[in-house]
């Protein structure tokens, strides 16, 4: 296999990796907000359930979770899982990352000065106005460094999709390396992850800087 053939084969894998990455972010960032509201709910039953769920998700390997999401419907309910591979991967990633984001959001919200809520309350802001206009913009600034960490971890975690035999860049590197008895695919995969994370760090830094106008 020539280097260019290898690159084009792996290029398709890179696109799939980026697909998992972006779809996970699009799903997990807002879902994390919902999970956080559940975790902070005044309803004790709801908050306990959500707390236990977060604990399970954070306490078990993502690799295992992917297997459970994929094979669970078959083993537990006898359902056919034909064509269910990609949805299972996305569910696994989105749910896992939403739980981590939820805890980051919670930390950010709990670090807010209570005086901000009181000032908004006395000025007559409704609860949702207070949250979206006053609290959330400040929380986003506070949590951005932690979110950056998670996003960088996500870039590398996408390789876990190989567990479900999904042909993303890591699976392909392994396959090609074995069939061609070559070390090169690993180098290509390594460079790909590094460059992708470099871009992620660059973009996140830009966003952080755009919020540096106040402290």
């Amino acid at each position: 296999m020539s280097f260019s053939t290898m690159l084009s084969t792996m290029g398709a894998g890179m696109l799939r990796t980026m697909g998992i990455f972006f779809l996970t972010l699009i799903g997990a960032l807002p879902l994390g907000m919902l999970v956080m509201f559940g975790r902070k709910s005044k309803n004790k039953v709801l908050s306990s359930i959500v707390k236990a769920f977060i604990s399970i998700i954070r306490g078990t390997p993502l690799m295992l979770q992917l297997l459970v999401w994929y094979f669970g419907p078959y083993y537990l309910f006898g359902l056919s899982i034909k064509g269910y591979r990609y949805p299972a991967i996305l569910i696994g990633f989105i749910v896992n990352y939403a739980c981590y984001f939820a805890e980051i959001y919670r930390g950010g919200i709990e670090s807010m000065d209570p005086g901000q809520y009181e000032a908004a309350e006395v000025l007559g802001y409704t609860r949702s106005q207070t949250f979206f206009r006053i609290i959330l913009p400040q929380v986003i600034k506070t949590i951005l460094p932690s979110v950056t960490n998670e996003v960088i971890t996500l870039v590398k975690d996408t390789s876990l999709a190989f567990t479900l035999a999904y042909q993303e860049v890591f699976s392909l590197a392994k396959q090609i390396s074995a069939s061609e008895t070559s070390f090169t695919p690993f180098v290509v995969a390594g460079v790909f992850y590094f460059v992708m994370n470099y871009v992620v760090a660059f973009v996140m830094e830009k966003i952080e800087k755009s919020m540096a106008y106040y402290n």
Binding site: E118, V122, L123, G124, Y125, T126
Partner: protein, 256 residues
């Protein structure tokens, strides 16, 4: 009468704030009146202000703004509040200036002043901006409209906080130790603004440790200790010739 608070009881049972309770405190404020509240730390001065501004709920007693009852002791002996909708409407009657300013750090100075009138009171942006700029000018901060709170000194921040409260056109303005978080050399600029508001007959209730200021600016001074009003009256009378031993003691310690 703008504000009537009658027989307010407030306890913090089960919390660590047991010393900040109120027992049978009444406070009535007439239009144009400036009332100062003095007293030692933990005496309940701030609690009274927080009850008046709905940041704390009272256990019993009544709160009436401009003849409209907000809370009243019901048959069961505990205070019941009116609906959230009515409370939201009545909130427009007052403004509160905090000890720690509590400006919104992500908004410019101008937006800090403009945001609530536009968002909460649904007023026209152009009209609000014109008024906000006038207010900032009055506070001597016209040139800071585009700055952010983190770029301002404590005294400037407090003046923005006053402008923000005034932009809502309140009938009564509460100050919770407005100069306590400031460097001594910055208190003057804030006190000057409050004094000017008093000259303009703004109705105000001021919790303060600035005794000479309280004496000069108020129509009435209230001395609170351990959650009870010990003495109240004409500032000259109360400061120079206190009737109660406890008041005398407090003022003596203060002047030492």
């Amino acid at each position: 009468m703008i504000l009537e608070m009658n027989n307010i009881e407030k306890n913090f049972i089960g919390t660590t704030h047991t010393d900040m309770a109120l027992c049978d405190v009444s406070l009535c404020v007439d239009s144009g009146e400036v009332v100062s509240i003095i007293g030692p730390s933990g005496s309940g001065k701030t609690t009274l202000l927080r009850c008046a501004t709905f940041l704390e709920t009272i256990d019993s007693g009544s709160i009436i703004y401009k003849g409209e009852t907000v809370a009243q002791t019901s048959g069961g002996g505990t205070a019941e509040y009116v609906s959230k909708k009515d409370m939201a409407r009545i909130r427009n009657y007052f403004g509160l200036v905090f000890q720690n300013f509590n400006l919104f750090p992500h908004y410019s100075i101008l937006r800090n002043v403009m945001d609530a009138p536009i968002t909460v009171q649904k007023r026209e942006k152009d009209e609000v901006e014109e008024e906000a700029r006038k207010l900032l000018d009055k506070m001597g901060l016209a040139s800071k409209a585009g700055a952010y709170p983190c770029q301002l000194s404590g005294g400037q921040k407090q003046r923005v906080a006053i402008a923000r409260a005034l932009a809502m056109n309140p009938d009564i303005l509460f100050f919770d130790e407005p100069t306590s978080a400031l460097d001594p050399e910055l208190t003057g600029e804030v006190l000057k603004i409050i004094r000017r508001l008093a000259d303009e007959k703004m109705t105000m209730v001021i919790v303060t440790h600035e005794m000479s200021f309280a004496k000069a600016v108020s129509n009435r001074v209230i001395f609170i200790d351990k959650g009870c009003i010990v003495e109240q009256g004409d500032p000259g009378e109360l400061f120079d010739n206190p009737k109660q031993e406890r008041t005398r003691q407090f003022l003596q310690n203060y002047n030492r």
